[in-house]
Amino acid sequence: MRRAAARALSALALLAGLAAAPAAAEPLVADLTSHLIGITGSFTGDSVVLFGATDGPGDVVVVVRGPERDIVVRRKRQVAGIWVNAKEETFAAVPSFYRIASSRPLDAITTPAVRAFHQLGVDDLRLVPTRGPLRPEDQPFRAALIEEQQRDNLFGKTVGKVDFLGDRLFRTTIRFPSNVPTGAYLVQVFLIRDKSVVAGQTTPLAVSKIGLDAEVYDFADRRSAAYGVIAVLTAMVAGWLASLPFRHA
């Protein structure tokens, strides 16, 4: 209830912000057109629009982070003519999805320290091996991890655009590819003035399988033995049904 009331209030504040610029208004308000990306059988990707207002001139940076997972990076080496996975490095709590958008180029509106602290941009993501701090020899693995995620369209290759309509209203479109990982996402909005973050807001976003696909996946995960038996029986029945029309051939 209280959250709903707060959201209604922030929407009001947004409208108020349009009409006038009250000094007491929040410096930054933003929301998404939808808080759920539902994956169904015909899912081929989706997008949501983030929109908001600031209390005056400034730059806005939007970061989208997917649920964190441990990811192992393996390097191939040629052994007796065959390429095999040789060395590996596991990185802890890697965001499974990462996108960033900004109203102006990041290095024009922030300092390296600000980018590092708020992890603005893939180069400033804190990717730390599970077994300790990042050593120089881990660098190629870190770079490969980012490259691989970018190739899979899970990390953005470029910084997206936050568009301003006038001085205070802004919007950006966040696109999710068909292979988007499921889970709880965070959409962070930063208001930047004089190369430092003066206000921030974090909005949750859920990416989840819905409908039949969700049920199949959940069932396969929770009741894996029953799922296996059902998979076999279904295949058997399908095979039997398929042979019927050809019975007298």
Binding site: V72, V84, K209, Y217, A225, V232
Partner: protein
């Protein structure tokens, strides 16, 4: 201002991706339904023509179109259950299934698949599963393809020579000295049960690791090692494959959660139609012609895989989620 022109036709991303895309819940990728149906159809056609399951083509191709290798292996096994049921029913109506032989093969196959799924999980954890899947394919396909090609070519040449000598019906060797002899009436054999047991065990491991029913190993082994009459071979092979593939499917579902039922069913629909067309086509070709064609196909897959493994990879690094 010039005359108003129609805006250039931009490719609409939602339609260029294909209206027939379907999201596979376990593989977690969207693939074109028509591609999956066609793939099932081609594999089914080949299995109809040659009397093998076609898993050896299906799994590598699924990996090629973007299905994660572990899901490809497990879902191929699931698809195989349905395809084998369909095939066995056809052979059973003609009385061409040796259930006793199938049962003994099965006992070995069950133990083999238990060991195979355990191996699969272990290899996946240490990051070498793809290497083992690929190496197994190259070794098996290379050897079998080579042997079949030699044998098929010889038979082909012999068939052309008028008055070529007939082969002995039965050759006795060390195999017939093994203990635990059993009588297999339908196969007209009196051999040691250890032979089909061992063969089944080996195929069970292959099924679990490679996602294949092992028909392309089983069929030649039944003919040349066990000495079974050719007529009962496909039906009996398929009969035991049902159970081995079912065991593999259930074990993969429990241990690795990699069985995609939606994927398997789509492949199955195309597969059964292809198999019926294929078996009609196959009956018009001569046996040795079929074997030479199958040998060339098997060798082509082996050469492709060898090339992939030895050529410098486009990307030296690979990533995977830690489970």
């Amino acid at each position: 201002m010039g005359p108003v022109r129609a805006p250039p036709a931009l490719p609409n991303p939602s339609t260029s991706a294909g209206p027939m895309e379907i999201y596979l819940p376990i593989a977690e990728v969207s693939l074109d339904v028509l591609v999956l149906l066609a793939l099932g159809g081609v594999v089914g056609f080949l299995s109809g023509v040659f009397g093998v399951g076609g898993g050896f083509l299906l799994t590598p191709f699924l990996i090629f179109i973007g299905v994660p290798p572990t899901v490809a292996v497990a879902s191929s096994a699931n698809q195989l259950v349905g395809a084998s049921v369909s095939g066995v029913l056809a052979h059973w109506r003609r009385g061409n299934v040796d259930f006793k032989m199938g049962g003994v093969l099965l006992a070995g196959g069950f133990v083999g698949s238990l060991l195979g799924v355990w191996l699969f999980s272990l290899l996946r954890r240490v990051g070498q599963i793809e290497l083992v899947i690929n190496l197994s394919y190259i070794l098996l396909l290379g050897t079998l393809g080579g042997l079949m090609l030699i044998e098929g070519t010889r038979a082909f040449l012999r068939g052309r020579k008028p008055g070529a000598g007939r082969r002995k019906l039965h050759q006795h060797n060390w195999v017939h000295g093994l203990p635990l002899k059993m009588r297999f009436r339908r196969s007209k054999l009196y051999i040691s049960a250890l032979l089909p047991l061992g063969l089944g065990f080996f195929i069970g491991i292959l099924s679990a690791i490679m996602g294949v029913g092992g028909g392309f190993v089983m069929v030649p082994a039944m003919i040349y090692t066990l000495g079974m009459p050719t007529a009962v071979v496909p039906g009996t092979s398929l009969f035991q494959i049902i159970f081995v593939a079912a065991t593999v499917t259930i074990l993969q579902a429990i241990n690795n959660r990699t069985v995609d039922l939606v994927l398997a069913l789509l492949l199955l629909v195309g597969g059964v139609i292809g198999a019926q067309i294929g078996s009609r086509m196959g009956s018009r070709l001569r046996g040795e012609q079929l074997r030479i064609m199958l040998a060339l196909l098997v060798l082509a897959v082996a050469i492709k895989l060898t090339f992939d493994m030895t050529a410098t990879p486009a990307h030296l690094y690979s990533t995977a989620f830690v489970q």
